[in-house]
């Protein structure tokens, strides 16, 4: 597949650091690496405590309450938000600020749709008898997906901040690295959900 070179703004200028790489970008990747450990621990905990032998009799089992078609649509929405995010970055790097703003708003909207779906799912589960304190399955499920939802919410706030900055003229082509850093965070929460969707929902 052929690639085309873009005018990529300040984000890809030579950096005067000991590595020649952007310290901000290095810090972001180190942060995302540490987040892998964080979510790895939560997913491990879920896998242990959602085993049928560890769920109290009379409390909901994963297979009883998961709504796979519903969660599939939510997963699809979050996955597509990664496409709009990378298109926002491409627009920012070319200096097309109105187009970038549009893609950022689309990404934030898709993120809010995902969070709305998660709130609905949590409410439905609570009505069906699964709460944070019902069983170790409930605790590990709500802690894992709740922390992921909190990460998505932080991402939405950062995306809206970028939109606000662009409105007041503080986000131009030379600031494309800001979009790139928040984009990395956004794609990370997306790939964490890729794992959660498969391991927690489909492999149950």
């Amino acid at each position: 597949m052929a690639t085309e070179a873009h005018a990529v703004g300040q984000a890809h200028e030579e950096h005067h650091t000991s590595t020649g790489l952007s310290n901000i970008k290095m810090a972001m990747w180190a942060f995302l690496g540490s987040e892998c450990l964080f979510f790895g621990a939560l997913i491990s905990t879920y896998l242990i405590y959602s085993r049928p032998s560890r769920i109290l009799p009379g409390t909901p089992m994963p297979s009883d309450i998961y709504d796979i078609p519903y969660t599939s649509v939510s997963s699809f929405v979050l996955l597509m938000s990664s496409v709009t995010m990378v298109l926002a970055l491409a627009a920012a790097q070319r200096g097309e600020i109105p187009k970038m703003r549009l893609w950022l708003l689309a990404t934030a909207t898709l993120g809010m749709t995902f969070i709305g779906g998660q709130i609905y799912e949590f409410t439905t589960f609570a009505h069906e008898g699964l709460k944070l304190s019902t069983s170790t399955f409930g605790t590990s499920f709500f802690v894992l997906t709740g922390f992921h939802g909190a990460h998505v919410t932080v991402g939405i706030l950062m995306l809206l901040s970028l939109v606000g900055l662009s409105h007041v003229g503080r986000l131009e082509q030379k600031d494309a690295y800001k979009v790139e850093m928040i984009g990395l965070y956004w794609h990370f929460v997306d790939i964490v959900w890729v794992v959660i969707f498969t391991v927690v929902y489909l492999m149950t």
């Binding site: 070179a5 621990a41 990378v86 298109l87 984009g183 498969t198």
Partner: protein
């Protein structure tokens, strides 16, 4: 630094379409009863493929400096290590796992 060439918008959209197709395949596999015994072995490669596509194309690990890829992979290997240790400990130290 070989971090200056990024894909075009069309290529990003093509990757997005591939991701959508894999997601549809994941859900389809889940609903085919004869495939139930193979579910884990079918879903894990698809999950890894989706993960890799987003990380390599959207997060630009394919195009950026290798140091970023190593930083991220270190986190993933540590996470897998934590999971392996926890599972091995539970299997060997508890009777009702």
């Amino acid at each position: 630094m070989a971090e200056h060439e990024h894909p075009s918008e069309l290529q990003y959209i093509k990757v997005g379409i591939v991701l959508a197709i894999i997601t549809i395949a994941e859900v389809a596999v889940f609903y085919v009863p004869p495939l139930a015994p193979l579910l884990t072995w079918l879903l894990i490669p698809m999950m890894v493929l989706k993960f890799a596509l987003v990380a390599l194309w959207f997060m630009h690990l394919r195009f950026d400096n290798k140091l970023f890829r190593r930083l991220f992979m270190t986190g993933i290997f540590f996470a897998l290590g934590v999971y392996t240790v926890v599972i091995v400990t539970l299997v060997t130290k508890t009777s009702n796992f």
